[in-house]
Symmetry: C2
Subunit: 325 residues, 2 copies
């Protein structure tokens, strides 16, 4: 493995922060994780990350050149280098994370939100290699998205482009944590799937093991397993989810006309259970000129390290020396 030159990818989550050293072929070494300690300020996390990175760095071959740092973080703004009003981190309104890192490392540092990092990771190291127009959807607790246009991540006028999780499915629909109603992520996400099961249990009379579970105890994994066992409520929940996702992805195609859409994150690991109905309804809702032209695919990045690889891909992209294998 050629590790002479590498970047550091850092994925900051509400609970855990992961990092690793990534070469230009996307090979990952010296992984480490630490507790984010979300109640402490961003400065403390950067200081702890510095210690961890220096420790890991000392185990690399001596000729290793470190070329940059890429960070994926919630509510991160690429254009400003900031994390703004993060829901899962008690950091306040504004933390200039790029500045904090630059105070510790004499390296190019770039930051973006986790879904954008996933998108650029897919572009450099995953299934979107060689593509110019792509949308990547991350399906976790919420729904994130990164939009690639002309081979570049789209940031828009203020650095926040690509928030498909908060497009509207139904203006009178489910209450969203963002304060709006009927947002896509209230239907299509791990929590959205649980809400859909609860709705289906109310609407239908099918027997289901899910009738024995309280709303608070629902997990998408459990619903996935019930579907695998033929539970009709669980199966219907995946079809409902795929229909709504297919419809809104057809809208997304009518905006940027991607050649492929990638699904990543926990819920995407349901595989064809989610992909098959999504693909069917996407095709049904597509405007005629797009029909038969848009591929719906699963992310090719490994699920465990996709976020760190994405953050590293951002760094490689920034330093301008990315050469997709």
């Amino acid at each position: 493995m050629q590790t002479n030159e590498c970047v550091i990818g850092i994925d900051i989550g509400g609970t855990t922060t992961s990092l690793g050293f990534v070469n230009r072929q996307g090979a990952l070494t010296c992984e480490a994780t630490l507790d984010t300690l979300a109640n402490q300020p961003g400065e403390t996390l950067v200081s702890r990350l510095y210690d961890t990175i220096e420790k890991q760095r000392s185990t690399l071959p001596p000729q290793t050149i470190l070329s940059g740092i890429g960070i994926g973080a919630p509510n991160a703004n690429y254009l400003r280098g900031t994390v703004e009003n993060p829901v899962n981190l008690n950091w306040g309104a504004l933390t200039n994370l790029v500045e904090l890192f630059r105070g510790r490392f004499d390296l190019p540092v770039a930051i973006t939100n986790d879904a954008n990092a996933a998108a650029i990771g897919e572009l450099l190291f995953g299934g979107a290699r060689g593509m110019k127009h792509v949308i990547v959807i991350t399906l976790g607790t919420g729904l994130g998205s990164g939009i690639i246009v002309n081979g570049e991540l789209l940031y828009g006028s203020d650095g926040f482009a690509g928030e498909l999780g908060h497009t509207t499915v139904d203006p009178d629909g489910r209450v969203c944590a963002c304060g709006k109603r009927g947002c896509l992520e209230t239907y299509v996400s791990a929590t959205g799937l649980c809400r859909t099961v609860s709705e289906l249990l109310a609407k239908r009379l099918d027997r289901s093991t899910l009738r024995e579970v309280s709303f608070s105890q629902f997990t998408s994994k459990q619903i996935f397993e019930a579907a695998g066992g033929g539970d009709s409520i669980a199966l219907a929940a995946f079809v409902t989810t795929g229909r709504i996702l297919g419809m809104k992805l057809a809208d997304a195609v009518a905006h940027t006309s991607p050649e492929a859409i990638f699904l990543s994150g926990g819920l995407a690991s349901a595989g064809e259970l989610l992909l098959a109905p999504t693909r069917r309804y996407l095709e049904e809702f597509l405007f005629t000129p797009y029909k038969g032209k848009v591929k719906l695919l699963r992310s090719e990045l490994p699920e465990g390290s996709g976020a760190v690889l994405g953050a590293a891909a951002l760094a490689w992209h920034e330093v301008g020396i990315a050469t997709p294998p």
Copy 2:
């Protein structure tokens, strides 16, 4: 007026085709119109346009340099230079209009659909000058859109990006001429406004002069005038239209994060009657990070010549010598 160097802008419509010579400041001279004669092949139109252009050209000052031709046409594909399956022109599946023009003129020729032409016209000669991320919506019989990203028209993977008229408002909603249901343009367009009036007449009991008019006789102009006279059905129709447009524009912002959205075309001339509710609902439906940041404006291109100016702007953009004043 500096007319030493100019391009030709051509707007091909189902009934009328307009053209004019446009200098780099956007000044328009030697305008001409001809019947499109939609039942004759594209080649015939190009031949007739050639005659008209040569005639107009002979009236220009002798030192005038002609630098390019830009064309706005229905169902035009910029990447392929073609008009594909146009609804209002009896041209068949595929006409390579750029090739036909190149057979007559030794000049750079570019083609795009009318909404994209309107967008690039707004960017070079209108209210979007100096902006990088913009959406232009054209409201006529249907709803067209052109999306500007990083200062460039967005074409996407197959040349058909930006078809917001066929995003879905309601999957069980109004039948659209495209074959789908609930498309945005079935609600927000001149014909959509008429359909909304018909629905409101059924739903409510308000007195209205519109109760004396048959569905076939409804026009958006008449509804506009009724609203001006205080007709509550007509007023409600504009609010309903603005609510749906505002909601879908908020979705559009969550994709490309523009700094401004421009409304143009016949229905946009209803002015604040449409803009005020659209602006209110856009703001209501915007995801928090975008709130208060997106301007909703009327096109600054003159209504009569906007399409020709847009086509000319495409030509200037292509020849790479556009210098916005």
